[in-house]
């Protein structure tokens, strides 16, 4: 109880200036890193490359958007890889493809997103009803998603021929691919949900002080399930977007996205303990990670060094971002 009291007391001590300073860390890091790479490499600062970075960030931005809500609640979600795989195979078998005669277009995409939503719901139910820790529940759901994807894969890669879905990755509007605009829309929707709906506000509150919320008569369980379902829908859409990029439904469509998304969210200033951060923070985090991956290639860092260098810069960026909060023990424990 004493810990809870400390956590809830903290926001009251916070001044508005403190809040502004705290949020400034990741954007400043983004600008600094961008500036360094731009100074080192003329190709890096070319318009083409900036478009490239933003396009490459699209899928990760959507997945991170979903995971941010879960992290805000203080839970963790490792189901992205499986859910994306299942959604990727579902959508590639429902739109025009080389395996069957289906051609449902948008409806197929909708089904894939709803499937993601259903998987998220499953994680939420396991957490709330069966009291399985979110770590285990979502890991299990990820495995289930990969299982569904493998069943649908059945030994032959479905390649999509649906012109709309393929066009998402290729066609450009104002210099950016459709996928980028979809990701931007997702971030906007995510931000609106976080800012203006009860779901978003409660997600914050659950992460900040679940007991207080329960004591004041809020039934948190339905909101927890809803948050996981929302996250699942974002992963589903992420799976669809990967399919659009690769032109094929891959079981491995979501490989690595679970941890990349958590990294991006944390780099952007969302706390793993919940109650802090948000969709816009995460969007900055995604850009930071993408600028880093792209920049290291553009300035010609050897691939043998890249992994290590990238890791060090991420740790440094997180450290810089949390300096204003260092006195709050939950950040450094």
């Amino acid at each position: 109880m004493t810990v809870t009291a400390g956590v809830t007391a903290a926001p009251r001590r916070r001044t508005r200036r403190g809040a502004a300073f705290r949020d400034a860390g990741p954007p400043v890091a983004l600008v600094v890193i961008f500036g360094i790479f731009a100074a080192l490499s003329p190709q890096f600062r070319s318009v083409d490359n900036v478009q490239n970075i933003v396009d490459a960030a699209a899928v990760l931005a959507v997945v991170t958007c979903g995971i941010t809500f879960v992290l805000m609640m203080g839970s963790i979600d490792l189901s992205a890889a499986g859910v994306m795989g299942a959604a990727a195979l579902t959508v590639s078998l429902l739109v025009a493809n080389n395996r069957n005669d289906n051609d449902f277009g948008l409806l197929g995409i909708l089904v894939a997103v709803l499937l993601g939503c259903a998987f998220g719901c499953l994680s939420g139910l396991a957490l709330v009803l069966l009291k399985v820790p979110s770590f285990m529940a979502t890991l299990g759901v990820s495995a289930a998603g990969l299982g569904v994807a493998t069943l649908l894969f059945a030994g032959v890669q479905p390649n999509i021929s649906d012109s709309m879905l393929k066009g998402w990755a290729i066609e450009r509007f104002l210099g950016f691919s459709c996928l980028t605009w979809i990701a931007a829309a997702c971030v906007l929707v995510g931000w609106l949900v976080q800012r203006y709906t009860r779901l978003g506000r409660y997600a914050f509150a659950i992460g900040g002080a679940e007991e207080v919320l329960t004591l004041s008569g809020v039934r948190v369980k339905p909101y927890k399930i809803a948050v996981f379902a929302l996250a699942g829908a974002f992963y589903g859409l992420g799976g669809v977007m990967v399919t659009s990029q690769l032109g094929a439904g891959l079981v491995q469509a979501g490989d690595g996205y679970d941890f990349s998304a958590i990294t991006a969210a944390v780099v952007g200033g969302t706390l793993l303990t919940g109650g802090r951060g948000g969709v816009l923070h995460s969007a900055v985090g995604v850009l930071l990670v993408m600028v880093l991956t792209n920049g290291l290639v553009q300035v010609g860092v050897s691939p043998y060094w890249q992994g290590g260098v990238e890791g060090l810069i991420v740790v440094a960026a997180v450290a810089a971002a949390v300096i204003p909060q260092r006195r709050r023990n939950q950040v450094v424990k």
């Binding site: 190709q43 070319s46 083409d48 490359n49 490239n52 396009d55 490459a56 990969l146 994807a149 493998t150 894969f153 030994g155 032959v156 890669q157 390649n159 990755a169 290729i170 691919s177 990967v242 990029q245 690769l246 032109g247 094929a248 891959l250 079981v251 491995q252 469509a253 490989d255 991956t293 792209n294 290639v297 553009q298 010609g300 691939p303 043998y304 890249q306």
Partner: protein, 361 residues
Amino acid sequence: MRFTARPAAAIMSLSLAAAVLTGCSEQAAGGNDAAAEGACQPSDVRLVGQVRNESNPYEASWLAGGDAYAKSVGLTQERLTYDGDSTKQQEQISQLLAGDTKCLVMNVLPNGDSDTAPIVKGADQAGAYLVTQWNKPADLNPADHATWISHITYNGVESGQQIGDALATAIGGTGGIIALQGILDTAAAKDRFAGLQASLKKNTGVQLLDQQAANFSRAEALTVTKTLLTKHGNHVKGIWAANDDMALGALEALQQQGLAGKVAVVGIDAVPDAVKAVQGGTMTATVSSDGAWQGGIGLAIGYCVATGKLAVKDIAAANRAFFAEQFLITKDNAADFVEPKTNPADFECANVFNRVAGPLT
């Protein structure tokens, strides 16, 4: 608390002791079986194929090849997959070896070099017939074991060089290329890249503009290729990828930049989509290890030994661990590789070693 803990501890130690005893007796029983080599009735042979997963086309064709072989001798193949998880692989193997191992034949793809030793040890103790493929540590040799019949692998340097040469020819012998490497600490990535370097030494007009790791992943290759294309612009005449998944990712990147067909792309593995791309002219070349053959041959070698048609002591030393033949697929011969299929004649006991391309060095 103290009173409840004691019975619990007693039960636990008893069951542990029981487990240890069972383990011992099974190992002893298995050891006796090893003596009776080649005494199996064809119908008693149990065929097991184990690969990482069924979710990639190469390993799916491996299992399909195993099924086809098993059917040809009137048996069925048990399919095992371990999702690239070494622990899971070892568990599956020990469960297999805990059962009736007298006529067990295993065709195994070890997850990594270090996973081979425990598998070999287990099979040796149980007297099960084992063929491994791709991964083994250099100091571990089938010739030192009774029932580990063969280890089959492919010369990555050779395949890396073959596609490097094909790429050089495709771009007319001069110009810049970029290379997409696999997971850098794997032997496959190292060997294939060494092959590219050998090819570059030979084709002096070709210049390696950049090399990046895309970890054998289609999605990573897409992003990396886009980045490299903005970095080097139209100096890029060709893309060398250490596997087909990355080559297909690179193709997608070229398509998104409107460069499809203008830049030559090569890969390795001959996954169906890549073979189709080679046939359609969007990809220049790929190399096939023939997954369907790999799935059949391991079982065939084991079956021949188990039923006494082949004696381990008669197998030439060079055939106990060997590089198998691989095939460069270009537009000319792509049609032959579109549908992975096996030739039953390859699996007859007299022919099981007819694709040996050289001893493993």
